[in-house]
Every structure is written in C-alpha cells, then in structure tokens.
Symmetry: C2
Subunit: 429 residues, 2 copies
C-alpha cells in the first residue's frame, strides 16, 4: 500500500477528553473516528488490526474444537424475561420497539440467545460436548463512555459458550478454554496474567479474568511473587503454573486476604478476557436439556468465554508504545514493514524504492510505502506513530554508498543492507 493513496492522515487535533495514551494514539494515527459518544468507525488502519486479531482468535478456537456461528445483534426481549435478566441488566441494555411495537434489544451478551439456538438442535448426550463461538458487535449503553474504544458502547467481542453433560466435563472444557486463551494471547504476542475472579452464586474456582499489566489499567490484581518476571514466561508450557498459582482480582483478595501482601505483586491490569463456568443457570430457565445414557432428562452444564476484541486493540497500545507512537507486536501489526523514501525528487532513489516495494509484494510482505512529499522529519514521525515492527529507510547519503537501513521500531537498532542484496530484508524483518 502506498501511503499517498492510503486513507490516512496523521492528525494533530486530539480531543481534550482523550485521557488515555491509546485513545490519543488511535486518533492521531487515523485508526478510529468517533461518530457519537462511545460509538466509533474503524478506519482502514484500525480495521486491519482487528482483522489480524480475529484471525488469530478463529484459528485457535477452531483448533480447540469450537465452531463459529453468528447471532444477530438484535434480540427479542422475551428471551431475557424468561431468564429473569431483563430488569437486572438495567439501563446499560439498549431497549426499543420495532414498528409493530414488539420489544427488542441490542444484545449486550448472548447466554440466552445461544441457549435458545442450542436447544433446537441438540437433545442427546451423544451430541455433547459442543462449543460455539462468534465474533460480533455488542452494545452496552455505558453512562459515561470514555477512554476511546477501551470503554465504548458499540464494541466487538468474541464470545463462546460451552455445553457439557456433567460438571466434570464442563470443568475439562473450562481448562481447555483456559489453555485456548493462553495460546491466543501468546500468538498475539501479549503477556497476560489469569486471575481468579468472582465466581458468582455458583462458587468454586471456575472464573478467571485475563489481564494485561498496564499502569493505566482500571483494575488492581495481585499475584504470587513466585511467578517472577512475566515477560520471561513461556505460555506454551505454563498452563499448570498459571492455573494453580495464587493470582486474584483485588475484590477476591479482599474477601479472604489469605496470603500476606509481602508475598504478592500488586499491580494495575486491563481485563481483556474472561472465562466463566455457570452450570445450569440458563439451561434450567430456558429449558435446555438432553437425554443422558439412561434416557433421563438433564440440564446442560454451560460456561461462557469472552475476549474484548476492539478493547484489546487499545489495551495492546497501552502496554506497547513509546513517546513516538505505537509499537505493534509482529503478529497483529497492520503491515509487516514500512518503507520510507526520504527524497521523492531523486529519480534513482525513487526507482530503487519502487524496486524494493515490488520485491516485497512479490514475496508476500505487506508493506506500507511512504511515497508522500512530506519532509524526512515528518516521515520518520508518521512511521514511528503507526508503529510497524520494522522500517526500511532510503536516504540520499546511504543511497550514494549503495546501502539502505532497516530500523527496528522497538529498540531503534539499525542495520545496513546492500541495495543489491534485497533478500536480506526477508531475513531481518
């Protein structure tokens, strides 16, 4: 993609209510545009990151035996009356009537709806377990939407729901989803801490939130110092460790205070995922049962599992940026690499940049080429702001000496690369 053609503008007019750095950077980098309070358009640069996260989520969910479907954004209120959550949910639920005066609502979550769908297709223990997911927009009418897409009203969430015959099966599914989440965050390139959260009426330890550690987090979490430096954790082999170590939300800690504070790390976190076992809470109310191997009707054991996809984009920026802009983890970066031509007036330099651009495209490297007429200083700022992991930089001086530079956005390390050795780019970036 050529920057001169891309729907992008490095914005300077950041609204005064943008308190979070992620909110500022997302506006500055044309990732989002607010339409009205808490409702955003995702511009091309922002949407690219959403799509990358979605694809990672899909791949790992499919691997873990989940199947994707898509529920509508709008639901009949009657379902929520059956589950007795209609009034509980309060004014955060966006309720309205259609032209025939039927009561509808914009789904804030989908336990009711998925249970309705499930029960029409599954009625034997032989068809269990089932685990269904979707990535769909939801709406919660926050009284004070703020922090950009971190706490907005229309938001994108991956939600899945599991159906098991017994509590033991449900527990296995729960642990499976715990692993699934570790793998997703690992694949995105994030270090997260699962913390025990409020299990609600059902009790037990089958409720975990997944937190990204960040000073701007709106939650406080505490975990055992034994965990050590989480940046050194290998998530592929850490299930047992993370599932069993003492690690809780502040609310949970305050209930028992069963570990001395000196043994704990207390820090701020951003919740980006939640897994939750709730047993037969909805299956009983909505009458979702199967026949077991003795022909007896039993209500299915359910759990739900969420990842805030749009919120995750902001959370990643909170945990990965510097004074110059965003630093994307490689796997969700909107482009693989940036290409900066520092002087568009130099014909030979242009030719070489075009050659590199074509070479990258031919090798399936998704490149953003700054072919604009901005000054070198502006070009450096723009590319640092956007935050691609590597930048290929061609200026007059290095060009005269037949080389160009590849800069690592994170640590600013720069290596030189000969113009006649383009293949080296593929090894470095």
């Amino acid at each position: 993609m050529k920057l001169s053609q891309f729907f992008f503008k490095s914005r300077k007019d950041i609204p005064s209510d943008a308190a979070l750095i992620s909110h500022k950077l997302m506006i500055k980098a044309s990732m989002i545009k607010q339409i009205t309070a808490g409702i955003y358009t995702w511009l091309p640069l922002g949407l690219k990151i959403i799509k990358k996260i979605e694809n990672i989520i899909r791949k790992v969910h499919d691997k873990y035996g989940c199947q994707e479907l898509l529920m509508p954004t709008i639901q009949p209120s009657s379902l929520w009356k059956k589950s007795e959550r209609y009034n509980d949910y309060g004014p955060e639920m966006l309720k309205f009537h259609d032209r025939n005066k039927k009561e509808l609502l914009y789904g804030p979550t989908n336990e009711e709806l998925i249970t309705e769908v499930f029960k029409e297709y599954i009625n034997s223990y032989k068809d269990l377990p089932k685990n269904l997911y979707q990535i769909q927009w939801k709406f919660r009418d926050e009284i004070r939407p703020r922090f950009g897409v971190m706490r907005c009203r229309e938001f994108l969430m991956k939600d899945n729901y599991s159906f098991d015959l017994t509590k033991k099966d449900a527990e296995n599914t729960y642990n499976n989803m715990f692993k699934c989440y570790l793998e997703i965050f690992n694949n995105i390139g994030l270090k997260v801490i699962p913390v025990k959260a409020d299990p609600g009426a059902i009790g037990g330890d089958l409720s975990h939130e997944f937190h990204l550690i960040s000073q701007s987090g709106d939650n406080t979490i505490l975990y055992d110092k034994k965990l050590g430096d989480i940046n050194k954790l290998d998530y592929k082999n850490s299930f047992d460790l993370l599932r069993n170590i003492y690690s809780v939300t502040e609310d949970e800690y305050n209930k028992k205070k069963d570990l001395d504070l000196t043994k704990l790390v207390k820090t701020k976190g951003i919740e980006i995922g939640h897994i939750f076992y709730f047993g037969t809470k909805y299956s009983e109310k909505l009458n979702a049962s199967v026949l077991n191997n003795k022909g007896k009707k039993v209500y299915v054991e359910m759990g739900s599992y969420g990842i805030g996809v749009s919120r995750l984009v902001a959370a990643v920026i909170e945990s990965s940026h510097d004074d110059n802009g965003i630093i994307w983890p490689k796997n969700i970066s909107p482009f693989h690499v940036g290409l900066i031509n520092l002087n568009m007036k130099n014909v030979n330099l242009n030719k070489t940049c075009k050659k590199i651009y074509d070479f990258l495209i031919k090798n399936k490297v998704d490149v953003l080429y700054d072919d604009t007429k901005q000054t070198p200083g502006e070009k450096f700022s723009t590319m640092d702001l956007i935050g691609l992991p590597s930048q290929i930089i061609l200026g007059e001086n290095s060009f005269k000496n037949n080389y160009f530079e590849i800069k690592n956005r994170k640590n600013n390390n720069t290596i030189k690369c000969k113009i006649n050795n383009l293949k080296k780019i593929l090894e470095v970036i």
Copy 2:
C-alpha cells in the same frame, strides 16, 4: 470436519410460511435459525458460505483500489436530519433513544455516515479519488419480513462509496465498479445480468442493478435477445457488451418502451447488487468538499455500490438446486468435498475412510466426513441436501473391489478411483 461433531441436523420441521425453496433448504440444512420475525442466527454451515462470499468480495474490491473500513451499526439521527432523509425513510428505519434520550437509529444504509467520515480526512483534490467499503450488518424494519434471509430485517451488506473530483472521474469510477461487480459474480460462479435501473433525480445511465435470473425472483427484467445464452457469457471480457446492450428493469422499460418486446427476453430476476452515481447530493448537504487545483472549493462527486451478502446466499440456492437439495458453486461451497462412509461397523472400511480423511486434510482439502451411524439412504440425502460439489463414497461392495466412487453433485456423474491411488481425488474434485 466430522459430521458427528458438526453443529448440524437435517431438519424435517420446516415452518409452513417458508414459501421459497431457498428458505426451506436453508432451514433443512441447519444454515440459519430464525430468532424473531426477519432476524436470523447464521449457524456454522451457513456462516461458512457467508465467509467465502465475503473473502471473494474483499479480494476483488482491494484489487480495484477500494479500502475497507467498518462503520458502526448505530448512528445519530442528527446526520439524517442534515441530509433531509430522516423523515423520508419512513417506518423501515429502526429509531430509538439511548439512556440520555439522544436520538439514534440502526443504519439501513450509510451515505450520510461515510460522508461525515470522509470529510474529516480529505480536503484536497490531491487525495482523490477515494473508494471506501465495508461489510456490515444493517437493519430495515420491513413491514412483512418473509422468504427467509431473502427479505429479512437484519441483513449483511457490502456497501462502498466513491469520492471523485469531477463528474467524468466519477463516471470512470462507476465503470470500474461495474467491472469489479462482474468479476465478483464471476468469481463466485454466478451468471448475472446488469440492467439499467431508475437513476433518480439525477438522470443519466449511471444506475444498474445486477440480477440473478430465477423464476422465483421478485423483479421482472428485460434484455436484448442478442445477448444470447447468458450461461455461455465470458464475464471477463463482457464489460463492453454488458455495459452497452439494452437491458432494463420493467419500470425503466415501461417509461419509454423504446424497444419492441419481440426483440427482448423478459424474465424474473433476483436483485443481488446495485451500483449508483448520485453526484453531489450528499456532499452538498453534509458539506463535503475539497479544494481543486485552483484553490476553489468543490463538492465531491459520489457514488454508492451495494451487494446483499446474506441475501446472495439465498439467491444462489434459488438458482442452483435440484429436488435433492442445494448445489453450491465450487468457490463458495462450505466444504470442498464430502466423504461418505456407508458402513461405520466395518473396521477396515473405517480405517480407509480415516486414511482418506487425513490425506485430504494434509492436502488442505476442506472435507466434511459423514461418520455418523445413519443409514446409507439417510447419508446420501444429507450430503445431497448440503450440496458440496463432489462426494467421495465408500461402500462395502466397491471396497471389496479396492475402489471407491467420486460423485459430481451437479450432474450425478460418478467415477471410480482405486483405493491405492488417493492422489486422483485431488485431480477430480
């Protein structure tokens, strides 16, 4: 995917109001489930087809220089008051208030919103043309939703919007999108007829609907007999022909009746796409202008282009089915191939099926394996209903003789294939 694990049930309880064959087949094949009037959940089998169509649309749009973004489903009503469409739209627009009494609506289309987005980022002729698209859910509160997803209320649509400096540029863009649409429908595997439609107040010939010919279509179209058999049309080289041949909606025909009926084919069609140039209608009302090369402010010339993605799924079924079920075009088939094991009790047969299944997955062939305990008759019905282009069939008799069969769903042609020559499958399917 193993059918025993897939979220699928061949349903027999088809609602009596399902008048269209596509509606019946989609329910029968667990592709969709109605949630309330005109609102559906897309089950795994149905969603797979949506995703395939989306991917074809994305690839071709990107190739034609369009950029993807994503607008929210909910919009402030104020925008529609500015464009003076708020009252015109009537009761089909779903309107409501949020908790702060702000007037909102669920977007039925997005000319206003995209114009608002555009004007904040583009203000010079140097940044034109721009062409922005999205694939997003929309809502139209139909008074009588019917025909399944063919005329539902919450529906998925690809909509894009072009912005040009001059009318001539806009006309070029229009023709470019005309080609883009031919390529999309060609890649999906559909034969469509573009017909001139009502250009509205603006006049001219820059309004075309794209119709799939089908006896169940709710539109009548007329086109010049010279076009011949549309099944023989080569869409890659037919732009000039299709752009210039006489071909109109019935309404347009009745305005002038400028060609004798004997020279025309009159048939029913399902509208699956619409492209439309509307000039400065919205840019003037919403003040979207750029400075031209003389520093003069000019309103941008706009067009909009839509494809009904969810409706298209039903339209394809209307035009491609037989008494036994659906017949998917290869490029949007939910799986590449079906694998039928006619006797799950035969251990050796099971082993061979498993070997074929693994072979296909290793070769990246997306296979649906019927490993259920249904009878052979039921298995044949199920696979025909689902409508994958090819079926690999293993029964006792052929197995004894060391071969299996590959059936072409469309023409029922069957070829024999030796069990020790699995590579042949890849050539045939």
